[in-house]
């Protein structure tokens, strides 16, 4: 019976983890509006953020490429990275915890700090506009 309960618990937990890019974007936007009620995610701002360096050596595009609907390549290891834009890879931004983990790591590498909710919302708006 214990196994049964475990399986049920796992099945129930799944929907909570699953997400889609649009709802993640909405979540970041809502978070950003707590600081700035007039905030609206902007693909144009997101593109600029994505392709610019921020005091360090790398931009987001250094590994993910630009436009990010093609495969990227890790700037240091040379490993191929699957496209980041959800239009090119439907697996992208479908797991909130995974997105947060990589925002956490990669923002530190590119900006030397965590990204704000506004920055994440802008980047997602940019990535969602890119369809291949």
């Amino acid at each position: 019976m214990n196994i049964f309960l475990l399986i049920m618990a796992a099945a129930l937990a799944l929907p909570a983890l699953a997400a889609d890019p649009a709802s993640l974007l909405a979540g970041y936007q809502a978070e950003a509006r707590k600081a700035d009620a007039a905030f609206a995610a902007s693909a144009r701002r997101g593109e600029h953020f994505f392709t610019a360096t921020h005091g360090g050596e790398w931009s987001c595009a250094s590994c993910h490429g630009n436009p990010p609907d093609g495969a990227g390549r890790h700037a240091k290891t040379g490993k191929t990275i699957a496209p980041l834009a959800p239009g090119a890879d439907p697996q992208r931004f479908t797991d909130a915890a995974r997105s947060e983990k990589w925002f956490g790591r990669n923002c530190k590498d590119v900006l030397g700090r965590v990204c704000t909710s506004a920055e994440k919302a802008d980047v997602l708006a940019f990535l969602l506009k890119r369809r291949s």
Binding site: I7, M8, H74, K76, T77, G78, K79, K101, R105
Partner: protein, 147 residues
């Protein structure tokens, strides 16, 4: 009772496939977490002490942030310790497979220019030459040097 049966059958079905690849003992957490920025390196290519050094400072991992939550870190740490090799450790607090004596010896016939070329970029990019490195397969059959 059905789901239990189903789960048991699925688990059984998965076993033989995993047993096919003895070179990289299967651990999905390791492959997912340590195989994203580069291939998931075979645990046997570094001794346990070197893996331990790497796992202690994942937030400053070769100039990048590879930090993990505590659960994944512990699981991967256990997996690496259990499957580590026994050769002499490479130097430094950031030990590299590519700086072991074994690696230099095994790769002495690779032309120097190839390591730095754009196709390979870094000796740590095993997959540029070992086309199935993602699956832990480094056999000669799957080796193809880029031009």
């Amino acid at each position: 009772m059905r789901p239990v049966l189903l789960a048991a059958l699925l688990a059984l079905a998965a076993l033989p496939a995993a047993a096919d690849k003895p070179r990289l003992p299967p651990n999905p957490v390791y492959k997912a977490e340590c195989g994203s920025c580069h291939v998931a390196y075979p645990p046997r290519l570094l001794p346990a002490s070197s893996w331990q050094l790497l796992m202690q400072r994942l937030d400053r991992h070769f100039g990048t942030d590879a930090s993990l939550d505590a659960g994944a870190r512990e699981e991967i740490g256990r997996y690496l310790a259990a499957n580590a090799g026994r050769r002499e450790p490479p130097p430094g607090v950031e030990p590299r497979i590519t700086e072991t004596r074994w690696f230099a010896k095994e790769h002495r016939e690779v032309p120097a220019a190839l390591w730095k070329g754009t196709a390979v970029k870094s000796a740590a990019n095993c997959g540029a030459c070992h086309r199935r490195a993602d699956d832990g397969d480094y056999s000669e059959r799957t080796l193809r040097l880029p031009k």
